[in-house]
Structures are given as C-alpha cells and as structure tokens.
Amino acid sequence: MEPELTVALPAAGWACAAALRPRPRLALAAGAVFGVGGIVALLLSGPGITSYDLGLPLSVSPVGRALLVVAALALAFIVILAPARAERSTMLAWGLAALAGMAAMAVAPELDIAVMVLLGLVLLQAAALGRRPYASRIRGPLLAIALLGLGLVFARMTGPAALQRLAAVGLVAGLVAAIGALPFVHEFDAEEMTATSPVPWLTFIGPVLAIVVVARGRELMPSAVDVMGALLIAVGLLNMVYGATAAWRVDGGAAAWRYLFMADWGLALCGLGLGVADGLRAALLILFSMLLVRLPLYLWSRQALRENVQNDRPVNLLVAAALAGSAPFAGFPARILLLKGATAMYWPLALVIGPLLLLWIPAGLRLGRTLGTPTGRQLLGVGIALAAGVALGVYPQPLLTLAGL
C-alpha cells in the first residue's frame, strides 16, 4: 500500500465531512469511511518502504507510523464517545484534517516540506471561527515556522561549526514554539473550542511533529546532534518544573490541564534528547499516553470545568493516579525508562529528574477532581481511557514493536 493514501484518504474524509456539514450524519459516515480507509492504508504500508509515484521519495518511519496509528485510534475514540455538547461531525472533520497533515509531515522527504505542511495546518486552523483575534491565533505558530525555517537555513550553510549549533537552536526553539510547550508562546482562552485552541498542537499534532523534527534534524546536522539533545533536555527540564508546578497552583482548571500537558512534554523532550533507546521508548510511551488517555480525559473534563463541578469519587482518584504517572498506568514505565536512560547517559541527570517526578502528584490530584461526576457515555469513556492507560503501562511492547523498538 502506498504512503500517499495515508495522506489522501484522511484529506478526502476531511473534505467530505466539511462539505456535508449541514447533514451531520452523512458527514460523519463519509468522514468515518475515509478515515478508516486511511488507517487501513497506514497499517498496510510497510515502514521504511519508499514510493516514487508522485515523483518524490515518500516513506513513513516505524515511529511515525506508530504515532499516526495511535493518533487515529485516539480520534476514533474521541468521536465515538464525544462529550455531550460536541458536534461529532465537526470533531471528525478537524481530526481528519490534522491527521492528513500529520501523515503528510511523516511521509515528507524533506523537513522543508514538513514545515510547509505545518504552515498549511496553521492557516487552516486560523481560518476557523475562534474566540481569540486572528492575528494572535497565528502569531505563535508562525513564529515557530520561522524559527524552524531559520534552523533549516543555518543547517544548510557552509561555515564555522557555530552555524550548526545555531541551527540546532532554531529547530528546538521552533519545535517548542510549534507545540506550545513553553507558556506565553500560544495565547490560551479557556472558553475557546478545543479545535481552534492551542490544545491540538500540544496533544494531537505535536507528537508527530516532534518525532519528524528531531529525526530529520539529526540527519541534517550530524555534528550538532549533541547540542540538539542538550537543548531538548534543558527545555524538557524547564517544562517539567514549570508545567507541573503551574498545573498544581494556577487558577482555572482548563489552564491547569494545559500546564500538565506542558509538563508531560517536558518528560517527552527529555526522552527525545537523551539519544538512547530507553529515552526514545519513554518519550513514545508519554506521547501514546497523551493521545489515548490525557487528551480524551481533558475533553470530558471541559463540561465539569465550565460548571465548576469537582468531586472526590473513586473514579476521580483513579484519574488522578493516571495523571500523576503512578503504577500501573502508562506514565510509570515511561518514568522508569526515562530514569534508566538518563542514568545510562549521565547519571547526575537522573538525580535531577527523579525528584521532579514528585511534582506530578499534587497536579494529578487537583486535575482528577476536575472531571466532576462522569456518568453514562462519559463514564464509559473514562473507563476505557483508564484501561488503555493500564494496558500501555502493563504491556507496552506491542506498540513499541510497531514503532520498531
């Protein structure tokens, strides 16, 4: 199966779902058919096999393929068990557009093309109706694209070694700005629709983008791989401290969720920066968990956040445990692998990361309460998300094998 279909089918699904919006059931059915087709094409396309049908060498890496599969599963999960007020066909249309863009970034032969696809996604999101002013919605993502562009330009210039280091700075800064892993890059409005807010960059598009930028960046700047790794670890540590502390202390539940995503990105960036297999495994587990567990939980918490309902029922405590990264949820093996990778690379780093992991406990306890009192379909969704978290935590090997690890 050709990699082109993994882009074309979700894109066709998005176009159908958007065009048929006045007839939501038909839009949902058409989008679902094309979306499922895209997943099947992705599963059938061999990782690493290159297609030249469009005159360009297109191929998807095993890690990119695994992340796309998990993102598609997360989208299906979110749409099937959509929050009560959400319009499923609209959610599916946005999700398929993002999925098509993510697939295009993953199969693109050059980082330049991936960055331009990212620009297309930015513009598509900005064209939607949002609460924030248009210019402020595109400012952060466009800054990210310009930084990535500067990184690419410096990586290709011939000159002193400092240029390669500057390129590494540009790529890491661009990546961090694109996913919004540092505060104040993307403006956040708690009342804004999720699809037009910065949340999809953090939780849905970000994982594939990070893998693409880091992998291609290492190919582009072989002499600055260490610099890139060090920058990723530094930004990761900053995100861990800032994100976890802010998720615990900040006013407003929605903002606290966003900060927890940033803290999780800190773990993932550290894992990516370590440059050892255990670090990559840890980062992938964090990203899988973000897609399958945290993003759905965030969406189901929004209703309770609006109504300011908080609760301490057993299900809230289980959610708190999952968010805090305790066993047997996915965050636990990810943290163990991260510490193992850090010890293998430079053991004092593990001494820094270890105590920081405790910061997730108060943040998790706080955000577990924000889920309110889930009932009916929402309770079923929370149950499935927690079960997925346990499955990832107890036996993550199938997904890691899919990612070639």
């Binding site: 050059e110 331009m116 310009a146 330009v153």
Partner: protein, 179 residues
Amino acid sequence: MTIAAAAAAALGGAILLLSDGRRALALGVGLLGAGLSGLAVDAGHIVGAVALLAGAIVAAVLRLRSGPAGWAVMPAGSTPRLILTIVTSLIALWIAVSVTSGDGTGLRFAVTALLVMLTVRLMLGAEAAAANTAASGIALTLGAGALLANGGAPDAACIVAAAVAAGMPALPRRETHGA
C-alpha cells in the same frame, strides 16, 4: 543578476515590514517573490523559480482584494520597524558574505533577512491582512530556503510553498469580535 534579485527580495521584505496598506503589502509580496524567483533561476532551478513567481503573483493579486485601503508605507510610529529593517539586512549580509562560504551568497542573504523581517512583522502586532501577507512571504522564503540543500527535492518544496503562499489570502478569515 544575483545582487539585483537578492536586493529585490530584501526590499519586498522591508516593504512588508514597514507598511500596513493593501497596495504596499501586495507590492511587497510580489517583489519578494520576484526576487526569490530570480535567485532560484540563478541557482539553476527553473521549475522552482516559476512556482515561486506564480505563488507570489497570486498572493499579491488576492491581497489587493482585502485589507486596509491605500499604501500606508511607514505610518506614524514605524521608526523601530525601520531600524529593525536596516539592522536585520546588515546582519544578514554579514552572515551571508563573511560568516558563511560557498555558492548562493544572494540566496543565503535573502532567506536569512526575510525570515527575520517577516517574523518581526508578526511579533510587532500585525493586523490580519499584514499577518496573512507575512505568512505568504514566510512560505515563499521557506521554499527558496530549500534551494540551499544539496540534493533532496527543492523544486517540490518550492511548489508546495507557492501553493501555501497563494492559498493564504484566499482562506476565509473568521473571528468573533469583542470575545
């Protein structure tokens, strides 16, 4: 040829940074695209050059349809932008000529200067039309930046860049006012 193309591209970027009116923005993106296209011809990428020029022309024509009327070049309070334009150009010239080596000096200068100028334009609080035009310029510049690569698919990058740049002003722009 190289110097003229690089100067035209940088001048286009400077106009985008210094102007608010739709006519000036259209002229800026057109000049920028024409300059980058000339640099692509100089680098031997005819397909990429045609794509960049076409993308810039479409973006410029579409920009003329909406945005603040007139030229509004260097409106009141634009002194910091003028200083930034000059400083950015000088630093980009220094990097392209003295710090780096090899062929494509004009392309290195233009791409570095444009990326910084257009990012500054966004950071200084651009109105929607100016932000859109800056985004078109960034897309075209990224496409031209791909020409610095040894191998790869630079023409494909230019075509994608042109499509994004041309589609940018055509996208519907919706926002809630006062929300």
